[in-house]
């Protein structure tokens, strides 16, 4: 594991994110399928999964996944996201210094899958982890992109008696899947 990835993992885990590292895209997809199974994703109410997969999985791969995981939808709507247990999306960049994920979230689907379901699975390319926020803002520029999201760990509050409680309005679990070969396969 590279020092950058190591630092990212340490920081992200310190804020209660789960970090898993895989060499190949195939292993990563198998892992995601495993999580969906563990979480008993199905067509039952509030048990679905939504995946903002545009630009990552092609049509055949999506069809294959849908066939294996009933309840998983690649059509990300407000209703499907509100009824889902798991949301999946690819994130553009990571920040090692704070364990943060960063995304051009202008497309509303990307925000729906990472805000409404209680679990968010975030895919990230190993070579897309940079040192700090300044470096990321060179890549994702606010002068060009209308909605940039920084996500650091799951949703949290300490508003009652300062007791840290995970999962208020956003996801209570953030599962980060870091993949070495992710970047090369996507485009």
């Amino acid at each position: 594991m590279s020092a950058t990835l190591e630092a990212f993992k340490t920081r992200a885990e310190a804020v209660s994110a789960e970090v898993h590292h895989f060499t190949s895209r195939k292993e990563a997809l198998a892992f995601i399928q495993g999580v969906l199974r563990e979480e008993a994703v199905s067509e039952a109410p509030q048990c679905g999964a939504v995946w903002a997969a545009a630009g990552f999985l092609d049509g055949a791969e999506q069809a294959d996944f849908s066939a294996r995981v009933p309840g998983l939808s690649f059509l990300v709507t407000r209703e499907a996201s509100a009824a889902a247990k798991v949301g999946i999306s690819q994130l553009d960049w990571g920040i090692a210094g704070t364990g943060t994920l960063v995304q051009d979230a202008t497309a509303v689907e990307k925000r729906l899958v990472s805000t409404l379901p209680p679990i968010h699975i975030a895919l990230l390319g190993t070579d897309h982890i940079l040192q700090d926020m300044g470096s990321v803002l060179q890549k994702l520029r606010p002068e060009q992109l209308n909605y940039i999201s920084f996500i650091t760990g799951p949703s949290r509050t300490a508003d009652i008696e300062r007791v840290l409680t995970i999962g208020v309005h956003g996801p209570g679990r953030l599962i980060i899947v870091v993949v070495d070969e992710l970047g090369r396969v996507t485009q």
Binding site: T98, G99, T106, V108, T115, L116, L137, I160, G167, H169
Partner: protein, 710 residues
């Protein structure tokens, strides 16, 4: 102070939930903040924040226009107004035109400032706060007590009761369950709302971006699900360039909550698609509400450098006792006092400005480099100018301004105090004066003041001369501290002169806003202290030292007394505190400690002015260690003892619990002596220990060192 205000303090102090929660938080906060800043050069970060915000406030007009042009180019509609009523009207008109019935809000102090919810509700619109703390206080019909943690004053039991009464019966005081309940109840509100209202932590002029920082994720939902997004942004949130958000985002989460970064940061720049593929209507309201008046004020412009992290609340020894509600309805704590005076009106700050104990704890930690106690003192000064000093204060200051009368009265006091005196203490005073002796004994006025004692001391002649500025407490209550100082400096071959015409340093007048009185005190002292050529003017009272070194200049500046500035600068250059001077003499080999002494374990209390204004915290410790003492550091060694001059007379109910904490921490060290460099702190702590009965001696560093040199 009004009775109503005194009552609100009383209520807060007797709320154990409040003082318990805030006390624990203030202790944990310091640790988590320090940890979050590991590896970060805080001084460099805050220098750049202060520069960025200072430059932005100098160019509000240009930045606001630039922001408007850039945001509108990207599809937003930007409305600029200085009038809170116009903000409300704009939102109401928009809601009406767009058929809005339900609004969800993420936290916005600007909306609290203008009481927006009330206006929306009166128009028949359903409004729900979605930040958990804000939702709780909305349901409880309260106002936020803290800028970052609005409901910190409430216990889980109280929250459960509010939820049970206002939302659904039977909620248990179990925090995870209460949070889950809130999630469940607010989710349909997010999904059903037509309009989302947010604030913004930063607005970037050159990109038209809003930066919104949250932990709960509510702002992401508020800006994603409803078809309309309205952001209310105070113009002080503007910065010129996008890279300027970096130092602010470095400091804000670290200082606010001890996090490296909050869970979510969203940078929204123009319109984004809605879930039905339409484009979201984005309305940004740039609100002035007296902010540009502050820009025009040379003193208060600095307050616009605030990033709303609430550090000044979290480290304030008074805030942790009384909480936020005594400060008013919107902005609380130190910075809140200043903002209330401007956004609301100066006289609204009349009572609350008196809460600031002027300890300076917030100054070195403010990411915007705002001199909060300095600005509060300036409010105090302006209030006195505006409405005059009370008759009682006028009478007191009239006496203080006449040295002969003042000193004659102190001498008389040494006789008239007899019925109340027990040894060197006054333990009980009758009637309304009893507040002063309830929680600590007061020192009796000495039979012979230092000004008389000094005449009998035989000193080395013909060598270096320094002038000693004693200050009232050493002169009239603790002459032995002055004798110790003379003895030590004599060992270095220095002759200590005592200019007889020296008088009160003016700090009591200044800290009560009576600058004219302080100015006269300054003139009298400068004349007395500069009359003879000396190498230094030394004082063993840090408050007096600060007066001579800094306050005289500032007081003259405020009064426009340019004729007095030159001499004030000369005095300032010569002025030095006792510990720093003695340390210099030791380092130069002019004073030598007796060898091989192993002395008892002591603990050291840092006096506010010595540590934070004069920056001398190592000097006294080095000297005490070199003398042979072991120092057992007490917890919160540099937290105010609660004395603060006349503060302990005006607000004894706050001074007493601050002292109580200090005594607890002193006792916990197991040291036989507590040492300090300020006679005011000695008065407070010695008096407190006397009432307490703990067998711990309170001594000034000078006294402890007086026999330790060869």
């Amino acid at each position: 102070m009004t009775t109503q205000f005194k009552d609100s303090i009383e209520t807060a102090l007797h709320n154990p939930n409040l003082t318990g929660a805030l006390g624990r938080f203030s202790e944990a906060y310091r640790i988590s903040r320090a940890k979050a800043y590991e590896g970060i050069d805080f001084e460099a970060v805050r220098d750049s924040i202060a520069d960025i915000k200072c430059s932005a406030s100098s160019h509000f007009e240009e930045l606001a226009e630039q922001f408007k042009a850039n945001a509108e180019r990207r599809g937003a509609k930007v409305f600029r107004t200085s009038d809170p009523a116009a903000v409300k009207q704009y939102i109401l008109d928009l809601a009406k035109a767009q058929g809005v019935q339900r609004v969800v809000k993420s936290k916005s102090m600007a909306s609290e400032e203008i009481h927006l919810n009330k206006a929306l509700e009166q128009a028949g619109i359903e409004v729900d706060e979605t930040d958990l703390g804000e939702w709780i206080i909305q349901l409880a019909h309260q106002t936020p007590s803290h800028m970052v943690m609005p409901a910190i004053h409430m216990t889980k039991e109280e929250v459960a009761e509010v939820f049970s009464q206002e939302v659904e019966e039977g909620q248990a005081p179990d925090i995870p369950k209460l949070v889950k309940f809130a999630r469940g109840k607010l989710r349909p509100k997010f999904l059903g709302a037509d309009m989302g209202i947010t604030g913004a932590n930063i607005a970037v002029a050159d990109t038209g971006s809003l930066v919104i920082v949250t932990n709960e994720g509510n702002a992401r939902l508020v800006t994603t699900l409803p078809r309309i997004h309205v952001a209310i942004v105070g113009i002080e949130k503007l910065v010129a360039h996008v890279e300027e958000i970096l130092p602010i985002l470095t400091a804000l989460p670290r200082s606010a909550t001890g996090q490296l970064l909050t869970s979510y940061v969203s940078i929204i720049s123009g319109q984004v698609p809605n879930t039905d593929d339409s484009l979201k209507k984005l309305h940004i309201i740039l609100m002035d509400n007296h902010r540009s008046d502050m820009v025009k004020d040379p003193k208060f412009k600095e307050a616009l450098q605030c990033i709303r992290c609430a550090t000044c609340l979290n480290v304030c020894p008074v805030f942790r006792l009384v909480g936020g509600h005594v400060f008013g309805k919107t902005y609380t704590g130190g910075i809140g006092t200043i903002l209330t005076a401007w956004f609301d009106e100066l006289k609204k700050a009349d009572d609350i400005q008196g809460l600031c104990i002027q300890c300076g704890s917030c100054v070195p930690l403010c990411p915007g480099k705002i001199d909060i106690p300095g600005l509060i003192l300036e409010l105090r000064r302006r209030l006195v100018v505006e409405k005059g000093q009370s008759l009682a204060m006028k009478a007191i200051f009239g006496i203080v301004n006449n040295r002969r009368l003042f000193h004659a009265m102190l001498r008389t006091a040494s006789v008239t105090q007899k019925p109340f005196k027990q040894g060197r203490f006054i333990r009980h005073l009758p009637l309304f004066l009893s507040d002063m002796t309830d929680f600590r004994s007061l020192p009796a006025v000495a039979a012979v003041p230092f000004r008389d004692v000094v005449k009998g001391i035989v000193q080395p002649q013909g060598g270096e001369k320094v002038a000693f500025y004693a200050g009232c407490l050493i002169d009239f209550c603790y002459p032995e501290m002055g004798e110790s100082l003379v003895k030590i400096l004599n060992k270095a071959g220095i002759e200590v002169l005592f200019p007889d015409d020296q008088t009160c340093c003016g700090a009591p007048a200044r800290y009560n806003g009576a600058y004219e009185v302080a100015g006269q005190n300054a003139r009298d002292n400068i004349k007395a202290l500069l009359a003879t050529e000396v190498s230094h003017v030394v004082s063993a009272c840090p408050t007096c030292t600060v007066a001579l070194k800094h306050d005289f200049l500032d007081t003259f500046k405020s009064l426009g007394a340019t004729d007095a500035m030159e001499d004030a600068k000369r005095l300032s250059a010569k002025t030095i505190d006792f510990a720093t001077l003695v340390k210099q003499l030791v380092d130069a080999g002019r004073l030598t400690f007796k060898e091989g002494e192993t002395l008892e374990k002591i603990t050291y209390h840092d006096s506010c002015h010595l540590k934070r204004t004069l920056k001398a915290s190592d000097e006294p410790r080095d000297l005490l260690r070199q003398a042979g003492h072991e120092i057992a550091e007490m917890y919160e060694c540099d937290t105010c003892c609660g004395m603060a001059g006349s503060y302990s007379l005006k607000l004894p109910e706050i001074s007493a619990p601050i002292l109580e904490r200090k005594l607890k921490h002193i006792k916990a060290t197991g040291a036989a002596k507590v040492v300090m460099d300020c006679p005011g702190c000695v008065m407070q702590i010695r008096g407190g220990l006397d009432k307490d009965g703990a067998p711990i001696q309170t001594v000034h560093t000078a006294e402890l060192l007086s026999d330790r040199f060869l």
